[in-house]
């Protein structure tokens, strides 16, 4: 936008260049920029996702928004509509992976664009609170002999198995 000024809500690509920068290396020079009037708080697990939509100006809930959920790779998980509290929940069923979840409010029917990714958690991840998180993953048989490695204790659950993540 020439001459500056506020951007309309939407998804932008911010690119920068300089004679002093290597033109073949775009790392750090390009950013996706979400311009929005809505803040999305995302809570994501293996089997469900919850979005809390609030307005950035008033801090009040944004009701009636259709939120579309995706996971890494662009796989569309489904959509849900925010209630009076700004909450939209999507049951992910028996999802067999723990791919990162993204939630997007698409600019349809006049609603403002917004987005959030599960990894936008700077400083507030479980690790930052001093705990390691235990993820839920589908249990799979070992692919090799267990010599020198342990899968950790298996913990039964309602329908899936809990496994401590393998760490090397």
């Amino acid at each position: 936008m020439e001459g500056g000024g506020p951007l309309e809500p939407g998804l932008y690509l911010l690119d920068s260049s300089s004679p002093r920068l290597d033109p073949t290396n775009t790392y750090g020079r390009r950013h996706l920029l979400v311009v929005t009037e809505l803040n999305l708080t995302l809570k994501a697990g293996q089997r469900e996702a919850l979005v809390w939509a609030t307005r950035l100006d008033s801090g009040q809930p944004a009701a009636g928004l259709t939120v579309t959920f995706f996971e890494d790779g662009g796989n569309r998980l489904g959509e849900a509509v925010t209630d009076k509290d700004g909450l939209a929940r999507l049951d992910l069923g028996q999802r067999t992976n723990r791919a990162t979840v993204q939630a997007v409010v698409l600019p349809n029917s006049g609603q403002s664009f917004s987005a959030v990714s599960e990894n936008w958690a700077r400083g507030v991840s479980p690790y930052d609170f001093g705990w390691s998180t235990l993820t839920l993953c589908p249990a799979t048989p070992p692919t090799s002999t267990p010599t020198g490695a342990s899968t950790g204790p298996a913990k039964p659950s309602t329908s899936k198995a809990f496994f401590a993540p393998r760490m090397t």
Binding site: L7, G28, T36, G45, S58, E118, W120, V124, T135
Partner: protein, 947 residues
């Protein structure tokens, strides 16, 4: 937390041994409670180590390990009981070490060694995970980094010895002053260990731990920003808690701010130089703060210049609290430094009135919101899923949220609070108007009382004797003391001596079903990567007008476009039995006649204990009746020990529970043989028996050893000896014996009181021969001799075979093999080659070449052998493929696949490939040609020097 049974009907059960070989693989049917049972018998000589037990259905897979070991159960146990589990540095540590037989009774007058190991102890209450309670002088030490922090190994700090008293106990006091001098700085975990040799010459140890705290309470530090700016105020949150993690109000804390600087100097030296580093410390500030009602305080300071700052917090109230000290490091960027982005501090510390709750209780959670005025909070209760959610309105900075907890919340939940504030809302101070958010997560434990039941096992007698039937009553009640019918139990009765070797965790089934669960839910927000907030920070870093950086409407979030590169020994043979030398020769030894005469018989009317078992009873399915009860009767084996009956139960609605009870099996007068597991011919050994008198009066006891002809007893130690065994004491009786050349021998040790009232007899518990006998082994060297010849016509031929001197006719064998041709005789050799563990190229050829030549010979001689004809092509192909893959790019072969080419090895391979080609095997022309080219290139012209 609740479970439901999978609707699968069957599960696949697999058991793999220590070598990961499958020894059991079967589909088993689940009963209505989702349980199954079965058994396997381990083969003689089964591999020792960890076995893997797995069960799978659908895409689900579970596994567990169990250990197979060779062991000898101990007769006694050592226990260490400290008076207190936690003490303050400088305090004495009293403890009692006790040595007691599993069959009851002390080891009086026994020499005990004790030692104390110390290892650093990290105080880290789970509900305060974002605080550090450590105290380190090195900013590069990361206690919270699992990839960095290695717990130090325990170091011995004290040791000593003593003799147990009449009760088998050794009271011990670790002097506080001596202990304090032996320990380094900080808190420690002590391991007090006692060990003793029992009358059976077995060394047994026991241990317990004691925490030695460095102070009465701990101070936790949590920087509000790990990277601060020189000349600008920064803050560190403090919290004071006692050993149990309870917050301590009104604690006066002294805070010291110390700047670290490292001066690196290059020191010139002969032949080069080296760097030395000197640490300079400068105190830049010192002040006191007092903890509030929540045990919290904030230390604010302004670092004057860049560098690393140690923030030290210590007790300022009393000299006696000198040990109360914690510290943490904060990096400060100076004006001349590259200013890197500050760490986010959007965390909110939630505070609960307790850390653990019973179902039905209400947790009171303080939300110390930093936002003023009315704002919203999303409160969620999480554990793998979002169990509950609620948006609430906060009007102040100290809202108490009340969360009723139910049985479904067991075993634990995480309470998450997300606060948001719009940019139009009230802001504190003159901060620019930006939308803001905070996140707090608080773990709460909830007792799984509704998911578990109480298991009570009661034996029908207080004490029993070996071989006696004992009835056990099982009673199961729920949290409201109501009976639990239809609960399915497995009952096992195991010798406690075995359990002392490999203790099993108590309530394992409760922990497995209802142990603490992970969070499993992530929280993220667009505000976490808000460009406006970054701009605000940048403005602060650059000293710019902050309001100018804030657009009233243009609130945006950005995500860094991820670049692809960013996204992106075979066991020793057992000794063999040997031919018995003529007994008459042995009899000629001086004194042998006396030995033969020195015999004793098993006393009449004495039952010999021969049935020893580690597991006396196991029943996988016992179901409680409508009263929640069940009953079993078990006949105890002949062990003298403490038996542990365990019941592990589950219901169809997955309530679980475990209970144990101990029962001592002993006798008024008992004898415990001390003998090896086997003998070797001509052994001169000392056998012994420990005779224990559990009565209140001394007893005259005839102790005898009844041995068969395999063991002769020295007349100096009569086969039957009369000794006095003190009341509640024991006496050891010994025999010197000579072992004869027999396959096995049988020993029976007996003790009979002089009045005949008390008696006992037993064979050794751990033996190697049949029916409780001891094998008598003889070491011999195997010798294999072979010969071959050719028969050119029919008729009879004689071949004389001379047996070597000293030949053991019980072990030898003669094999005569007649083959129609020499080629047919090669078959056994090929079989051997097939199983040879080939590794290098030479070995591959040495397998491949004979196979090729035999294949050729079989065909050219017309010998029919269908098995070989079926096998050989596969073996030849396998060798061929190996040689193809082992060929180097230059066409040659090295000794190993990764080695450079070697002329001799390459010539050997080319020779073998050529022979294979001649035998009609299809050989890659390219591989062969490349190999030949390599060899040709290695040829040295006459007169030239080798390359």
């Amino acid at each position: 937390m609740n479970f439901r049974l999978p609707d699968v009907g069957k599960v696949q059960v697999t058991i793999r041994d220590a070598a990961y070989e499958t020894i059991f693989d079967q589909s088993v049917t689940l009963n209505p409670n989702g349980a199954f049972d079965g058994q396997i018998v381990l083969a003689e000589g089964a591999s020792l180590g960890n076995y893997v037990f797995s069960a799978s259905f659908g895409d689900q897979y579970f596994e567990q390990y169990f250990q197979v070991a060779a062991y000898r159960p101990p007769e006694f146990e050592i226990t260490v009981e400290p008076e207190a589990a936690e003490v303050l540095r400088g305090e004495d540590v009293p403890a009692t070490i006790a040595a007691k037989y599993f069959f009851g009774g002390p080891l009086a007058g026994t020499a005990l060694d004790w030692n104390v190991l110390a290892q650093s102890y990290r105080f880290s209450p789970p509900q305060l995970g974002n605080y550090s309670f450590d105290d380190a002088d090195d900013p590069y030490t990361c206690f919270d980094c699992w990839w960095w922090y290695q717990p130090p190994a325990p170091e011995p700090v004290m040791s000593g010895a003593g003799i147990t008293d009449a009760a088998g106990e050794l009271p011990l006091t670790l002097a506080g002053a001596a202990l304090d001098a032996a320990l380094g700085k900080g808190s420690f975990q002590l391991t007090i260990e006692g060990s003793a040799f029992g009358p059976d010459n077995q060394a047994i140890a026991g241990r317990a731990t004691v925490i030695v705290h460095k102070g009465d309470y701990y101070i936790g530090l949590s920087p509000q920003e790990y990277v601060a700016d020189a000349g600008k105020e920064t803050a560190v949150d403090l919290v004071a808690v006692d050993w149990a993690g309870q917050r301590q109000a009104n604690r006066k804390l002294e805070v010291q701010i110390v700047r670290y600087e490292w001066v690196n100097t290059y020191v010139e030296a002969d032949g080069g130089g080296y760097w030395t580093t000197e640490t300079k410390k400068e105190e830049t500030d010192r002040f006191t703060v007092t903890t509030n009602a929540r045990g919290e305080a904030v230390a604010r300071f302004t670092p004057p210049q860049g560098g690393s700052y140690q923030i030290i917090a210590l007790d300022a109230g009393s000299p006696a609290q000198a040990g109360v000290r914690s510290s943490i490091f904060v990096w400060v960027a100076g004006k001349d430094d590259v200013s890197w982005r500050r760490e986010n501090n959007d965390r909110l510390t939630l505070i609960s009135d307790k850390t653990g709750y019973a179902p039905g209780e209400t947790a009171e959670i303080l939300i110390p919101s930093p936002f003023e005025g009315e704002h919203l909070a999303l409160v969620t209760v999480e554990r793998g899923r979002i169990l509950r959610r609620e948006v609430i309105k906060l009007t102040g900075s100290s809202t108490v949220y009340r969360l009723p907890l139910t049985a479904a919340d067991a075993p634990n939940v995480y309470v998450s609070v997300v606060l948001v504030q719009g940019r139009n809302g009230p802001n504190s101070g003159d901060a620019p108007r930006l939308a803001d958010y905070k996140v707090g997560i608080l773990p709460l434990d909830v007792t799984p009382s509704a998911q578990t039941f109480k298991v009570t096992l009661t034996p029908g007698v207080e004490q029993s004797q070996p071989g006696q039937p004992v009835t056990y009553n099982l009673t199961v009640t729920d949290v409201d003391s109501r009976p639990v019918p239809a609960a399915e139990f497995s009952l096992d009765l195991v010798d406690k001596a075995v359990l002392s070797l490999q203790p099993r965790p108590a309530d394992a089934i409760v922990e497995r079903f209802y142990g603490r669960r992970g969070l499993g839910i992530s929280t993220s927000s667009g505000l976490a990567v808000s460009a406006n907030r970054f701009l605000l920070e940048l403005a602060a870093d650059m000293g710019l007008e902050q309001d100018a950086m804030v657009e009233a409407q243009a609130t945006s979030t950005m995500e860094r476009a991820a670049e692809k590169e960013m996204a992106a020994g075979a066991p020793l043979p057992p000794p063999m039995m040997a031919a018995a030398p003529a007994m008459e020769e042995a009899m000629a030894d001086e004194g042998m006649a006396g030995m033969i005469a020195n015999k004793a018989e098993i006393p009449a009317g004495v039952d010999v204990r021969t049935e020893f078992s580690d597991t006396a009873y196991w029943n996988p399915v016992i179901v409680t009746d409508e009263k929640g009860q069940a009953e079993v009767t078990v006949t105890l084996p002949d062990n003298l020990t403490t038996w542990v009956m365990r019941g592990v139960g589950v219901t169809g609605d997955t309530r679980v529970g475990e209970g144990t009870v101990e029962l001592v099996a002993t006798m008024p007068l008992l004898i415990r043989p001390v003998a090896p597991r086997f003998f070797v011919v001509d052994d001169r050994a000392e056998l012994a028996a420990n005779v224990t008198n559990n009565t209140a009066q001394a007893l005259a006891v005839e102790v005898s050893l009844a041995a068969d002809d395999g063991v002769l007893i020295d007349p100096a130690t009569p086969a039957a000896q009369t000794v006095t065994v003190p009341a509640n004491g024991e006496t050891k009786v010994t025999w010197q014996v000579v072992v004869q050349d027999v396959p096995q021998t049988e020993l029976v040790f007996a003790a009979v009181s002089s009045d005949g009232q008390y008696k006992d007899a037993a064979k050794p518990r751990l033996t190697t021969g049949p029916d409780g006998s001891l094998l008598v082994l003889r070491y011999t060297a195997p010798d294999t001799v072979g010969t071959a010849g050719q028969l050119v016509e029919g008729g009879q031929r004689s071949e004389v075979i001379a047996l070597p001197p000293g030949f053991d006719e019980r072990r030898g064998e003669l094999t005569v093999q007649l083959d129609p041709s020499l080629a047919a005789g090669m078959r056994d050799g090929l079989s051997y080659l097939e199983h040879y563990p080939y590794e290098c190229t030479e070995q591959t050829v040495s397998r491949f070449l004979p196979n090729v030549l035999t294949y050729d010979a079989l065909k050219s001689l017309g010998i029919e052998n269908k098995e070989l004809e079926a096998k050989l092509p596969g073996l030849v192909d396998e060798g061929l493929n190996k040689l193809y893959t082992q060929q180097n790019p230059d066409g040659g072969w090295g000794w190993w696949a990764t080695n450079e080419s070697n002329v001799q090895v390459s010539a050997y391979v080319v020779f073998a490939l050529t022979k294979a080609q001649q035998a009609g095997v299809e050989v890659s022309a390219t591989v062969l040609a490349n190999g030949q080219n390599y060899l040709t290139g290695q040829l040295t012209p006459p007169g030239a020097s080798p390359g």
